[in-house]
């Protein structure tokens, strides 16, 4: 399990004692001893790394949760995230008596943290240190924790030895994901500002559940791997750290659990190269997100600008600004996540690989939000393709159906709106057209690609793909079809 002190650490500790000077210490002795002390400190640090990652990640679920218009939801949503993780762990992991003590300690720690955060509501000074709004009554929190414990015991009993039953949980998570993405009416009475003389009129909003999209995908990944018998055995603490790993909770990437565990279980040797590389990625991410993306946000396409802008040149400027803004924003977050992960010895997977320089849409989707695309490929696209092939359906139709539904789902994962659906369909059509064109070109031109004009076709492909993607962003950036069509008209000089 990698929990025992590693042999490297022992070596380091022993060598410190060996280094203790017997005679008067020389300068080099003192320096070497100092270095060893630093190493020992680092080694000790590594032994608490996992615990630190676990506690920080659990706290981050609460700390990063934005305020919600419904009272106490900023406490209940993070708590629900933790409960879901524990429930899925109970449903997917075998009962191991030898690990019972550690499990109880971890479960106790989670319950203690939840109760502790809830208890902060008793004080007026500390009530909002972790959550944005005061937590609910501590007795209600205690009752909820007790209910959570009972639920977990029940799940462990029901799912023990029945991996196929995990499918129920997959459907439950999908249903929950759909519910979260729906627009819910929020009445004035629910809003915290309801103390005003007249209640605010009801408004509609999605539930701002921090990181739930990513949490749900990691949980579904674990459930599917369990159903396929490929999920490794792991402790509750490891699983919790994987699912709510704080650098990756906001914007991914979506790591695979067995890969994550490999890094988590590896002895953490404090080393300069991780520090430098992690720091470098972190700085690049900060620059991309907070300098480039946030500056571009000022001039990037949004609902207001789409209808206010004059037709023609400026509309293109807004569109290009949005295209680069979303790239730098998202890849900046990813860089920060990868950099932070690296600082803690976790090598998160890459999510972007110069997507706007790809000569076709297929390559674009192999280099944009790669871990999400990979997730859909593994758990939706490939199984569906296999299923359709077995039914003797014409390959082009299979491609059309699988690509369209996959891209539609990716679109709807961002939000259940017509525009996200259209964005998905837009890319599906692009991917389908590209696959047909590739097929046609291969049959027609064969391997004549190495012509002198190859770079021209490559460049043309890059420009064409970029613009196809950029037009797609119109659906993605704007909230409704009418505004999007208005903006398309503006792009082409029409009022």
């Amino acid at each position: 399990m990698g929990q025992a002190r590693s042999s490297d650490e022992v070596t380091v500790i022993v060598s410190v004692f060996a280094m203790l000077p017997t005679a008067a210490p020389t300068a080099s002795h003192r320096f070497a001893a100092l270095l060893h002390v630093v190493h020992v400190a680092a080694a000790l640090l590594s032994s608490v790394r996992h615990a630190a990652l676990f506690v920080t990640s659990v706290l981050a679920v609460y700390l990063l949760q934005p305020a919600t218009p419904i009272a106490h939801l900023d406490f209940w949503l993070p708590s629900a995230s933790l409960l879901l993780v524990v429930v899925v762990w109970c449903a997917t992991q075998p009962l191991r008596l030898e690990a019972m003590r550690e499990t109880l300690v971890t479960a106790g720690l989670i319950a203690g943290l939840v109760l502790g955060i809830g208890a902060l509501g008793i004080t007026t000074q500390l009530c909002c240190v972790v959550t944005r709004m005061p937590p609910p009554n501590i007795l209600v929190v205690a009752a909820a924790v007790a209910g959570g414990v009972l639920t977990c015991i029940l799940v462990a009993i029901v799912f023990a030895g029945h991996p196929a039953r995990t499918t129920w949980l997959v459907f439950a998570l999908i249903a929950l994901l759909v519910a979260v993405k729906l627009n819910w009416p929020i009445s004035g009475a629910d809003a915290p500002q309801a103390e005003t003389a007249s209640p605010a009129p009801p408004t509609f909003a999605t539930i701002q559940w921090l990181g739930f999209s990513y949490i749900a995908f990691r949980l579904i990944h674990a459930l599917r791997e369990r159903a396929l018998g490929k999920l490794p055995v792991m402790s509750l603490r490891e699983f919790m750290t994987y699912v709510v790993f704080f650098p990756a909770i906001i914007a991914g990437p979506i790591d695979r659990v067995e890969r994550f565990l490999k890094d988590l279980r590896a002895p953490f040797i404090f080393n300069m190269s991780d520090l430098v590389e992690g720091g470098r990625r972190l700085l690049i991410g900060v620059f991309k997100k907070f300098v480039i993306a946030d500056a571009l946000a000022i001039i990037a396409l949004n609902d207001a600008l789409a209808v206010q802008t004059q037709p023609g040149l400026w509309a293109w400027v807004l569109l290009y600004a949005y295209a680069f803004r979303i790239f730098f924003d998202f890849s900046g977050y990813t860089d920060m996540a990868i950099g932070l992960g690296r600082l803690f010895g976790i090598k998160l997977p890459e999510n972007f690989n110069r997507p706007y320089l790809k000569p076709n849409l297929t390559q674009f989707w192999n280099s944009w939000h790669m871990t999400l695309a990979q997730w859909f490929r593994t758990y939706y696209f490939n199984p569906l393709t296999r299923a359709l092939r077995m039914r003797n359906i014409a390959p082009p139709l299979i491609i059309f159906v699988t690509q369209t539904t996959t891209m539609l789902l990716i679109g709807l994962w961002h939000g259940l709106t017509w525009n996200f659906a259209l964005w998905g369909v837009w890319h599906a059509l692009g991917l389908f057209m590209h696959s047909r064109w590739s097929e046609f070109a291969r049959a027609r031109f064969g391997a004549q690609d190495a012509s002198k004009l190859q770079w021209v076709t490559h460049l043309g492909g890059v420009v064409l793909t970029f613009h196809f993607v950029a037009f797609g962003w119109v659906w993605f950036a704007l909230s409704n079809v009418e505004t999007s069509l208005t903006f398309f008209r503006r792009l082409f000089g029409m009022p």
């Binding site: 300069m272 470098r280 000022i298 206010q308 802008t309 400026w314 509309a315 600004a321």
Partner: protein, 379 residues
């Protein structure tokens, strides 16, 4: 890897040294005049019709900054070289002149420009809006001092009692944030100095202090130039607002001041005199801007919720006598606009009211041009 680590350590140390050196330079050298010159306005995007001011930058495509170089470099006046056939008029004043809740074309300046006036010697009258929210005489002197480099031929100064009330002399962000310039004006025109007037301290001149915000605002204002160019929007004139009430509050206090005699020393006459000195031979027209004269509850003791009658009547009397005594060009248009033409407060007016106001001022200008002693000189 060692080579890499050494590279990063050396690069970090060099970056740190450069950062420290840059901050030290900032303590002694103000980079803003140079930075402000690097403006996209009047180059890549059109200049703004009025000085930048935005409470909600993301809706109004602008940023409120106190740096005069940055403010003026975004303005259309900065990008327009004065030609021999232009008669250049600048308008100073508060938010009513700036055009609160109005598009640039709907302001008094917009209405004047729409008239395409021609002077008797054939020059085209082009009016520039240099109004800025919140009334302050010292602020207007500061703006005029800067605007003189654009060689105006005439200055129109929209005032109200709040403008000339000595209490508002230093009570304006532009005055507070431009201590060096205000101090210089105080010295040049022997004005009353504020001992509390401050200048940027050592820390504030570095990136750890106010200078970072000033530079960031300048940069943001450049970026907002693009949505401004794309939309022509520089202010939130599209959100609904509550109309100003014509039923007035109880009592006759002016803020917390009960009725009393308004003394001459409560007015910033020294600033008015400095404005005239600064204007030199150019005509300076002082306009007592229209206010809401409410007709509802308590309107027998108050004109509106800002001015009780006792103070505004005394102010008008003082202005009339002082301008006659000093020979100032003074136009008292306080009651020109009917109450239904005011928008969200006692000074902000509808486009129609601004047109009426513009016609009155134009009439005064034409009348002056017709006088035989009015020589049309261009400075």
């Amino acid at each position: 890897m060692n080579a890499n680590i050494n590279f990063y350590i050396r690069a970090s140390l060099k970056a740190l040294a450069l950062f420290i050196a840059f901050n030290v330079v900032l303590v002694f050298v103000d980079p803003m005049p140079v930075i402000a010159r690097l403006s996209v306005y009047n180059l890549l995007v059109p200049g703004r019709e009025r000085l930048p001011h935005a409470r909600q930058p993301s809706r109004e495509y602008g940023v409120t900054t106190s740096n005069l170089d940055v403010m003026f470099n975004t303005h259309v006046i900065h990008g327009r070289v004065k030609t021999a056939d232009e008669y250049r008029v600048v308008v100073l004043g508060d938010s009513a002149a700036w055009g609160w809740k109005l598009r640039p074309a709907e302001t008094m300046v917009g209405a004047m420009n729409a008239q395409n006036l021609i002077t008797p010697d054939g020059r085209k009258v082009r009016v520039y809006n240099l109004g800025y929210p919140i009334a302050s005489a010292m602020r207007d002197l500061l703006l005029l001092d800067y605007a003189m480099r654009y060689r105006p031929d005439m200055i129109i100064w929209m005032v109200t009692f709040e403008t000339l009330n000595d209490k508002t002399r230093f009570d304006h962000p532009l005055v507070r944030d431009n201590g060096t310039q205000v101090r210089s004006l105080n010295e040049r025109y022997s004005l009353e100095a504020d001992p509390a007037l401050w200048e940027l301290g050592y820390r504030d001149r570095t990136l750890f202090g106010l200078r970072r915000k000033i530079m960031a605002d300048a940069f943001r204002l450049q970026l907002y130039g693009l949505p401004w160019a794309a939309t022509g929007i520089d202010h939130d004139y599209f959100s609904p607002y509550d109309r100003v009430s014509r039923d007035l509050k109880e009592g006759d206090l002016f803020y917390d001041i009960p009725p009393k005699t308004l003394n001459e020393d409560e007015m910033t006459w020294d600033v008015v005199a400095a404005m005239h000195q600064l204007a030199g031979e150019r005509p300076l027209l002082i306009v007592n801007e229209p206010i809401l004269i409410a007709d509802g509850k308590n309107s027998d003791v108050r004109y509106n919720n800002v001015y009780p009658r006792w103070i505004f009547d005394q102010y008008r009397a003082l202005m009339l006598s002082k301008s006659a005594q000093e020979g100032w060009n003074y136009l008292d248009l306080w009651d020109l606009i009917p109450p239904d033409q005011f928008t969200d407060n006692e000074f902000h007016m509808t486009p129609n009211a601004n047109r009426i106001l513009a016609r009155s001022i134009e009439a005064w200008m034409i009348e002056q041009w017709a006088k035989p002693e009015a020589a049309m000189k261009s400075p």
